[in-house]
């Protein structure tokens, strides 16, 4: 009896399953197809962007919020859950912070400006040079910063290769006479490293933009009587401008927040902001943890502000471009 009912049950179950499979097979697919392809294209685009935006938002935005919570004592090891701005007071009232801020801005501005100017020249020069040349100039692009730092230390330090060459040529009497280029007060080593590393990066971006410019534009200008310099100034440069802005923006942000380069190649005092953060973060005194985070947040805030200023100065219609109202106009060009 029980065996019979079991078999019956099994058979019923199987048929029931089959029935539902049949019932949903076409429908499920149709439903899905109907859903995706009939969606508003704008909504589709947002859905496609959702994974990337939410991961970046979670990691970056979430990280920032957690950092903020820790810096004001709401969460964390030392925080007792009550709001406190002590960490910020300590940061803002310390002389080291203002000196470091000055140094970091100096390095970032000088390195970005130098690399950008050199890259514009190099990109224009490479535009008509062979492919081998543009390839060779991309050499430092995939190189880790640490390898560049090691190479520059061994090249430019007082006992480095350059100093040895000058000595054997009789140009300097001892390694003491070689100018201090690494760990120096002016941070020349840091600047040299960034120019060496970032010029190929900016050049690569600018070359891509240059190759996209129709040569007819330049020819027309020349036919209308413009000299090569005028042609560069009034035709090429304005067309390059968006590329220049975005490339130098990435470089500025990177240099401003860079840790290992000034740590190993820079001056010992004052230190750049990221080094200050690192020292507070690794301090044995756990109270310094919230100071480190407050410093880090100031660093983020300053770089976001400088980006905003930079974009605002760079665009003809400040901010319009970024907040979407002009996207139709942008699309037409």
């Amino acid at each position: 009896m029980s065996a019979k009912s079991g078999r019956w049950k099994g058979r019923w179950k199987g048929r029931w399953k089959e029935h539902w499979k049949e019932h949903w097979k076409g429908r499920w697919k149709d439903e899905w197809k109907w859903r995706w392809e009939d969606l508003n294209p704008t909504f589709q685009a947002y859905l496609l962007l959702l994974p990337a935006v939410s991961i970046v938002g979670l990691l970056f935005g979430g990280g920032l919020l957690l950092a903020l919570g820790q810096s004001i004592g709401l969460i964390g090891i030392m925080g007792d859950g009550s709001l406190s701005l002590a960490a910020y007071q300590q940061v803002l009232s310390s002389r080291a912070f203002w000196q470091s801020l000055q140094l970091s801005l100096y390095i970032a501005i000088v390195a970005t400006a130098l690399s950008t100017f050199l890259s514009i020249g190099l990109a224009v020069m490479l535009q008509r040079a062979g492919r081998w040349a543009s390839f060779a100039c991309q050499l430092t692009l995939p190189i880790p910063h640490l390898v560049g730092i090691a190479g520059i230390l061994l090249l430019l330090s007082p006992s480095g290769l350059l100093s040895r060459v000058l000595f054997s040529l009789g140009l300097i009497a001892s390694d003491q006479n070689f100018p201090l280029l690494v760990n120096d007060r002016a941070n020349l080593g840091v600047l040299i490293h960034f120019v060496w590393k970032e010029v190929p990066f900016i050049t690569l971006i600018l070359l891509a933009v240059l190759r996209g410019i129709q040569p007819e534009l330049g020819m027309q200008a020349r036919a209308l009587g413009a000299g090569p310099w005028q042609c560069f100034w009034h035709v090429t440069l304005p067309l390059l401008k968006p590329g220049i802005i975005s490339a130098s923006l990435i470089v500025f942000g990177f240099v401003f927040g860079s840790f290992e380069v000034p740590f190993l190649l820079g001056s010992t005092t004052p230190k750049t902001l990221p080094i200050l953060v690192y020292e507070a973060f690794t301090n044995v005194d756990l109270n310094q943890r919230s100071v480190a985070i407050a410093l880090g947040l100031m660093l983020s805030l300053i770089s976001m502000t400088s980006i905003a200023i930079y974009l605002w100065l760079g665009s003809e219609k400040p901010f319009g471009r970024w907040f979407g109202r002009s996207w139709e106009a942008q699309n037409k060009t």
């Binding site: 685009a45 990337a52 990691l59 060779a136 390898v147 953060v277």
Partner: protein, 262 residues
């Protein structure tokens, strides 16, 4: 002619820092003012000993870079498609938002993420490091792929669909083959960014995740110049492969142009 000389000079200067690294990696006690050292292979054979942690670092770097590249590709492909092919309100703002992690200093973010990672038991693990490596890799991947898609004609897809291909067939036989070269560039780019990353690993790895840059950093501070140079040159391996394989693709302006249009 002068243009050629200037170019050769620039290329020479770009090469210059590699010269002392190469010499040092084969040198034994190379003191000032010697121009040429006593040659040795000691530094290179030292790399193979476990105490230098180079083998371990190489393996961990490889795992971390490959995983974060794969994950970045997974979310970068749809995002790149939306940014490359569609126009919608707020596009500029979304692009800027995706760019924030590579422009804004990640230090504060890292310390915030570290707070959660410690509670999840992921601080000092490879998973934690992969997670923070997504911060720079996703934006770069998305930007490169968006310009790859901008040069892709979606009419091919529509045609294939109207001829009866299923969406998956279209993806496999039309879309992926057409965007493959750009995808390779994006993947190589992301892989290198993760491979070269120092700061993120340094903060989240808590000294327990030893990628190759961490090994190099420790060696540089340790002061063994010969060994550091050998490690430095070893860590160039993927970069060299990148240059070899992408020499054509890098000149593919479509892929890199994306960075110039943010």
């Amino acid at each position: 002619m002068t243009r050629k000389i200037v170019l050769l000079l620039i290329i020479g200067v770009l090469f210059l820092p590699f010269l002392p690294l190469l010499i040092w990696s084969f040198a034994q006690g190379w003191y000032f003012p010697q121009l040429v050292p006593d040659w040795t292979l000691q530094n290179w054979s030292d790399l193979l000993t476990t105490s230098t942690k180079v083998g371990q670092g190489f393996g961990q770097s490889l795992v971390i870079a490959a995983t974060s590249t794969g994950l970045a590709l997974l979310v970068g492909l749809p995002a790149g498609r939306a940014l490359g092919l569609r126009n919608f309100p707020g596009k500029g703002a979304i692009k800027l938002f995706l760019l924030l992690p590579i422009i804004v200093s990640p230090l504060a973010t890292l310390m915030g993420i570290q707070f959660i990672l410690i509670r999840l038991g992921l601080s000092g693990t490879i998973i934690g490091v992969v997670l923070v490596h997504l911060l720079p890799t996703i934006p770069y991947m998305t930007l490169v792929l968006s310009s790859v898609y901008a040069n892709f004609d979606p009419d091919y897809e529509i045609q294939a669909r109207s001829l009866g291909a299923s969406p998956i067939q279209v993806l496999q036989q039309i879309t992926l083959p057409l965007i493959a070269p750009g995808v390779v560039v994006g993947a190589l780019f992301a892989f290198l960014i993760s491979w070269n990353e120092f700061l993120l690993t340094f903060f989240v790895g808590s000294g327990r995740v030893f990628t190759l840059p961490m090994v190099l950093f420790t060696a540089l501070q340790g002061g063994n110049t010969g060994l550091s140079s050998a490690i430095a040159i070893t860590s160039l391996l993927p970069a060299l492969i990148f240059l070899l394989f992408s020499s054509r693709a890098l000149n593919d302006d479509a892929a890199i142009g994306g960075l110039g249009n943010v």
